[in-house]
């Protein structure tokens, strides 16, 4: 018998700190598999965010940097400019990338910085126990929107792919999800494509991945995936928003 599914080489063979059923784990696996498949483990440098994925530096077997909250794209820029032949990716949550790190991601994209951003949108601040994120849905209850996110006070969730796609330096921008097997497979393809764009030197690439936070959503992992599909997908339509090779 042959192993047809096993632990990716680029992922450390240790237990993660993620909550049960948190799809951060799936996304880690996809990124690691991609690195394995492209054979770039030895020249990949990952930038971990501040957020639940902060410990990503322990999980990916490639060289890693832990960046200040929101600054991963700037840190990645510094790295990439020093070693243009290396492959540099950031792994960021929605608070990290779309709130405090807005300027950094917008300008990395505008510059056409040859890096790849893996953007995990779970509509909440997971790490700090569930406050509103820029991507929190209208009406969604969080620690800082105890009566539900209100348009009047908090405005609208940001659709990051749509925004980043307006920038000329963005070569590839896609939104995917991991709420079922089919979508996980699609997500993997998108991540791979984003890395390939970087390898080909085409510019900035980003994959936004809709993800769950069972702990702070207050749902079981299974229900969380359902909630994602029913509530997040309509607000954040899946698809390719930019592909300069298309």
């Amino acid at each position: 018998m042959k192993k047809i599914f096993q632990h990716p080489k680029s992922l450390a063979d240790i237990s993660t700190h993620y909550c049960p059923g948190c799809t951060h784990g799936i996304i880690h696996k996809l990124a690691a598999e991609t690195i394995d498949e492209l054979g770039i483990e030895g020249k990949t440098i990952g930038i971990a965010p501040v957020g639940c994925a902060v410990f990503a530096y322990n999980y990916f077997n490639c060289d890693m940097i832990e960046a200040a909250h929101g600054r991963a794209p700037a840190v990645a820029t510094g790295v990439k400019r020093v070693s243009p032949d290396n492959i540099v990716f950031t792994y960021q949550g929605d608070g990290d990338l779309a709130a405090i790190g807005t300027a950094e991601i917008v300008h990395a994209a505008a510059r056409g910085e040859k890096i790849t951003a893996i953007f995990v949108n779970n509509a909440i601040y997971g790490m700090t126990n569930g406050q509103m994120a820029p991507t929190t849905l209208v009406g969604q209850i969080t620690e800082t929107t105890p009566y539900g996110r209100s348009i009047e006070n908090n405005g609208y969730p940001i659709r990051v792919c749509e925004m980043i796609a307006t920038l000329e330096g963005a070569a590839y921008v896609e939104r995917v999800s991991v709420h079922n097997v089919r979508n996980v497979i699609k997500a993997k393809k998108a991540i791979r494509k984003a890395f390939e764009m970087q390898i080909e030197g085409r510019g900035f690439s980003m994959v936004e991945i809709l993800s769950t936070c069972p702990s702070n959503w207050g749902m079981s992992p299974v229900d969380s995936l359902k909630w994602l599909e029913e509530n997040m997908v309509p607000q954040f339509p899946l698809g390719v928003y930019k592909d300069i090779t298309a």
Partner: protein, 356 residues
């Protein structure tokens, strides 16, 4: 190699960085230090380096964080408000022990303040404007030549100790043009940066640049290690310059461009037979406390002169431990201490030992 050239202080910093092998500069424009970026923008492409104008000071310092993580000699520069924005980044750099050079060409504050020269970021630079227990080596040049020499040295010490080194200058030093020599000191034997994230090439375990230590015991251990390093630097790297201090009754303590005014005072006083010396710290951290403490013994008083409301004076007082009285003359907002005012204060101190 030793022909003199006329250069602005800001340009001297940039040239020194290039000579020291800095090939990655990240910055954001702000007066009075824009010449550093302009110089880099012109020269970097010629030497195959990277000049990148970041979208903000915060991005710039985090690009430096990235470039230093990747093992490069790297630098950013700014002026007071811009440096305030870098404080989180500087604390991270300290936590991760990343070598790099930060330039602050100070202007008047607080807030938007003004663009004239100032020395009112002493506390921020020396005590730590960011969070946590950390230090940077802080150089205080006082001439264009020193802008050059100390910047070069900054890159060396940064690598030697894995620490951020700040060049703390002021608007006058940045803008003034003086003859100087472009010189390359003998290089130190430095350890290879085998901690850097250069890609494992599948030949070594992965390197991690990180300042998060979630377990108290581990974070304390890390802090102890940092403190031990700081102690070592304090012992080895304190630098200062003395003028006419041997016989002095009063010593003026001043740094940077103010020290030059003070030196004129010292010279003129000598002409008049008044025994006044100058203590000029070249490193503000580590502050040359031991040297100053020894000098204090036989003094009628120490006169601290700053372009601030009184910041270095605290380190002076901590150094002298009450051995002699300490007096202060400060100007703010871009105003420059006048020779006459300093001399007058010196005379007063000589006349009466009591607190003024």
């Amino acid at each position: 190699m030793s022909r003199k050239v006329l250069m602005k202080g800001n340009e001297a910093i940039a040239e020194a960085a290039l000579q020291a092998g800095c090939r990655h500069y990240f910055g954001y424009p702000i007066t009075p230090q824009t010449e550093i970026a302009a110089y880099m923008a012109g020269k970097m492409p010629e030497v195959g380096g990277v000049f990148l104008q970041a979208e903000s000071e915060i991005s710039a310092v985090n690009m430096v964080y990235g470039a230093a993580s990747a093992g490069a000699r790297t630098m950013t520069s700014s002026s007071s408000p811009g440096i305030s924005l870098k404080q989180e980044g500087l604390s991270y750099i300290a936590g991760c022990e990343l070598p790099c050079v930060i330039v602050n060409v100070m202007r008047g504050g607080p807030g938007l303040g003004g663009i004239l020269p100032s020395q009112s970021d002493y506390f921020q630079s020396v005590k730590g404007g960011g969070h946590g227990d950390y230090r940077m080596i802080v150089f205080a040049p006082s001439s264009v030549q020193e802008m050059y020499d100390l910047t070069y040295e900054a890159f060396e010490l940064a690598d030697l100790y894995r620490i951020a080194v700040m060049i703390l200058a002021d608007g006058h030093l940045g803008q003034v043009m003086e003859p100087m020599e472009i010189r390359v000191p003998e290089s130190r034997q430095l350890e290879p940066k085998d901690w850097a994230v250069t890609g494992t090439r599948c030949k070594r375990p992965h390197n991690v640049i990180n300042s998060l230590l979630i377990v108290g015991e581990e974070l304390e251990r890390h802090n102890n290690k940092l403190q031990a390093k700081y102690t070592k630097i304090s012992e080895n790297e304190a630098r200062y310059e003395l003028t006419n201090c041997e016989e002095a009754d009063v010593i003026i303590a001043a740094y940077g461009s103010v020290a030059r005014i003070a030196k004129e005072v010292v010279r003129e006083c000598a002409d008049e037979g008044i025994k006044v010396g100058l203590f000029r710290p070249v490193t503000l951290w580590p502050f040359p406390s031991t040297a100053l403490n020894q000098l204090a013994e036989k003094l009628k008083g120490l006169v601290v002169v700053e372009m601030s409301a009184g910041q270095m004076i605290e380190d002076v007082k901590l150094s002298v431990e009450g051995k002699c009285p300490v007096y202060f003359h400060g100007r703010t907002g871009g105003m420059v201490p006048l020779k006459n005012d300093i001399t007058e204060l010196v005379r007063k101190v000589l006349q009466q030992r009591s607190q003024i």
